[in-house]
């Protein structure tokens, strides 16, 4: 035990959303080049603890998606919606695709990431829109 304080430099989830919202999205990179998203003290791939903030690519490609027709209560007014996991290179992000017809999304589509709010509540939401 050498340190009894939490490291203020470690990004929180909300700081990460703020950064995306400001157009300054980032990810955490380990010395081996693995990517992850905050809050992280340890790289989930390599176990490294010296993680640096690196700029997130402006666009990514849809790796997989689904059109959700039965959502959780907190997404009642958002349903139906497209959920997708998007590949940004060193990291993948999960969010909702907006700005395309429900049937028009496809694996490989190029999208950008923003932060918007849900229809059902005013909670913030990771949103992908066509690049």
């Amino acid at each position: 035990m050498t340190d009894h304080t939490l490291d203020e430099e470690v990004a929180t989830y909300d700081e990460w959303l703020d950064a995306i919202e400001a157009g300054e999205g980032f990810y955490l990179e380990s010395p081996e080049g693995h990517g992850s998203l905050p809050p992280r003290r340890v790289c989930p791939h390599s176990g490294a603890t010296d993680l640096s903030r690196e700029p997130l690519s402006e666009t990514g490609t849809v790796e997989t998606y689904t059109v959700v027709h039965v959502g959780a209560t907190a997404f009642d007014d958002d349903t139906p919606y497209i959920s997708a996991i998007v590949d940004f290179g060193p990291v993948e992000l999960t969010g909702v695709v907006r700005g395309v017809d429900l049937e028009a999304v496809a694996v490989g589509d190029e999208v950008g990431v923003t932060v918007e709010t849900r229809e059902t509540t005013d909670d913030r939401l990771v949103v992908f829109r066509p690049a």
Binding site: T64, T66, V70, G71, A72, I85, T94
Partner: protein, 388 residues
Amino acid sequence: MTSVRIAGVGLTPFGAHADRAGRELFASAALAAFEDAGVERRDVDQLNYGNFMGALAEQQGHQAPLMAEAAGLSCPATRYEEACASAGVAVREAVRTIRSGEADVVLAGGMERMTTLDTGKATAALAIAADELYEVRAGVTFPSAYALMARAYFDRFGGEREDLAHIAVKNHANAVDNEFAQYQTEITVEQALDSPPVATPLHLYDACPITDGASAVLLVSEAYADDHGIEAPVSITGTGQGGDNLALQDREQMAQTPATEIAAAEAYGEAGITAADVDFAEVHDCFTIAEVLAIEGLGLFEPGEGIAAAREGATTADGETPINLSGGLKAKGHPVGATGGSQIAEITRLLRGDHPNSDAVDDATVGVAHNAGGTVASAVVHVLEADQ
């Protein structure tokens, strides 16, 4: 590795029992297990109890001592929570405790009460097995997470909705004569294809139902069985557990489930078997695609080949490797905290010859149970063997 004997098993009927308190459900399963085993309740050293969402569905935490009391046990009781693999882990830790010599008799199993919640609230409750920050807040549900995996599988290996429909049809057919199954009715491929979408490509008939129910498995040491003249022809000869990143976005890929591969390798190794020795299996088919991922992860089919297994008849009751002869989670039902124990109970009955579908595996000696948590961030595999 010392084997652990299955002295008795007990189940409640799976279905909608919203008017029955959880303690009553578990007590029913436990008493059935004691009757099956012929073991005295006072001999139980500990209760390993699986439950996932009791705090949300029944506003009841601290369930293990409550369930011990309900079952007439006066012994230490601990709840195991590993999402839908909770009872699988409870069984695994019971096996390890008996092997260590710390206990001779352990009651393991679980209970879940889910129909107390409407569909939206049940969907939200199940979703807490996913990553709260990066999945739940982004709108990922339990069905949509498996839908993301299904699309990734189709994209990598091929496959279509009709392949998945054949899995649902098979598992419904297997449940017809199972008195514990929630749906003892056959369905057709056309019905499955025509059912409404939940999260594409998964439709209603790709999904397991919302279920109330309980399971109990009474495990004893070889020495206890010998000393007390307990007839227990089925043993757990291998147990294994694997893990993975909780969120799908953090995994190397989504079309395979390495946690299952890790758990199977450990369990097979302990039992001294290979996948080729497995006669049949009960696998975690919370969604049809999950059965595909499971049978590939267990090594029963090569990656990319599991998708057509039901359609081609390889996994049907009269196929080479029957999968989910109980009806699986899909048709038998999925009270999440009880499921892992019910799989052990079904395999035990199938191997002993007292299951309605035992005729399908009358020469079988090796059955495998596969229980998964979340999107297989946890997997537990058990090898069960019948005395020759």
